[in-house]
Amino acid sequence: MSPVPILIWSHFKNEQHASPFDDYVAQGKLREIWEGDVTQHDIEEAPAAIITMHIDQNRAVNWLPWFSKLLDRGGRIAINGHVIRPYLEGVGTYIPAEKVGKSGLLLTVLGEHPIFEGIDRVACGVRKGVAGFYGRGHNQMPSGAVALTGVGPAKAPLDWIWQRPAGGEIFSHAGNDIWNISADEPINRRLTNNLVNWVNNAQSAS
């Protein structure tokens, strides 16, 4: 059986709530691994990885060379949350957006990407009239990365995509886990589906 993309999760998942990824795991499109169980083999052999915002970055920083191998083979990695200890080569640390009143955290579409197909990002940026749940800053982009979603008047790159010169792609979303950013469940499901499709379309050499 060929390896499938992995979802590395970290936090305690309340048994009362199903994971948004359950169906994809059942369909063989994704394998979930708790961070404490991750091995070098899991990462290096996976065609792609999704990483929760709750990841233990003291742990993940030790996986950096393994992630690089995944990417070198043409794999894809999607990260969520604020990078404090850079655990992917080239990805910089998080910078919070300047607080400039209510409009300070509004979103601007800067580029299209399959992960956002069918999604109104500007609408996602406001939940019950309050901006900020989607994200409030950015992880610093490597040279050559392309901004997809900006936050605040400065349009800081909250979402970006980077095609690594050495191979592979990194998608960074410096906010709450992207599969849970909307109050509207169909939007969350669409984003989840888009994300799972994106990692499953990685052109990874075996």
């Binding site: 305690f12 009362q16 709750h54 970055q57 003291n58 742990r59 309050v130 409030r136």
Partner: protein, 201 residues
């Protein structure tokens, strides 16, 4: 002289922001990665702060050391969303559906009340400093002292000084993730007062 305070460092970005950013880092004598908890790393520590969203599996794995720490007189402060009932005996927790948006309603009042305003852990704090949202309530252990209650007078913060030689502080308040994500100012107000109080307790 204040006693020594250590914190577990589970490593999520909001733990870094709470434990290692300049705002609070000097309040902690030591940060310990959960898997490194043992008799040696806990030596000389009086109080151990377990921040919100430390996974129960990581705590269960080192539970004998945590018990020994409390039996030797140490204090453990287990914050909300560490799911204390999953790793500690004698903790009965009743989760509630969290309403994150209660404050948008007219004349909103979550109904959280400080019952022991003179307790050193809550010195200088008002009801607003413990009010952001609720995750659930406890049936406190026999003899435990409730410090904060919800609207229905149920305990959301108590101190158990009878089950162990030391002290066990249990709360469903979960400031760490929200403070560390740069939102919910009430959680920052809470930590601004609670952490120095804890340091001096």
């Amino acid at each position: 002289m204040s006693s020594t305070l250590a914190a577990l460092q589970p490593g999520a970005y909001y733990h870094f922001e709470t434990l290692e950013a300049p705002r609070y880092r000097d309040l902690f004598d030591k940060l310990i990665i959960p898997e490194d908890v043992n008799e040696t790393t806990l030596a000389g520590i009086d109080k151990l702060y377990i921040p919100s969203r430390t996974h129960p599996k990581r705590l269960s794995a080192v539970l004998p050391h945590l018990f020994r720490f409390m039996e030797q007189g140490g204090t453990i402060i287990a914050m909300g969303e560490t799911f204390q009932d999953k790793w500690l005996p004698n903790v009965t927790f009743h989760p509630v559906e969290t309403n994150y948006w209660w404050w948008l309603e007219p004349h909103a009042n979550l109904g959280v009340t400080i019952e022991k305003p003179d307790h050193p852990l809550l010195k200088g704090m008002s009801d607003l400093d413990v009010t952001w949202h609720l995750h659930g309530w406890y049936e406190p252990a026999d003899g435990a002292q409730t410090l904060v209650t919800d609207r229905d007078n149920r305990s959301i913060f108590y101190i158990d000084e009878t089950s162990y030689n030391g002290r066990l502080v249990i709360t469903s308040l979960d400031p760490c993730y929200h403070h560390g994500s740069h939102f919910m100012p009430a959680t920052t107000r809470f930590l601004d007062k609670f952490l120095p109080n804890l340091r001096n307790w």
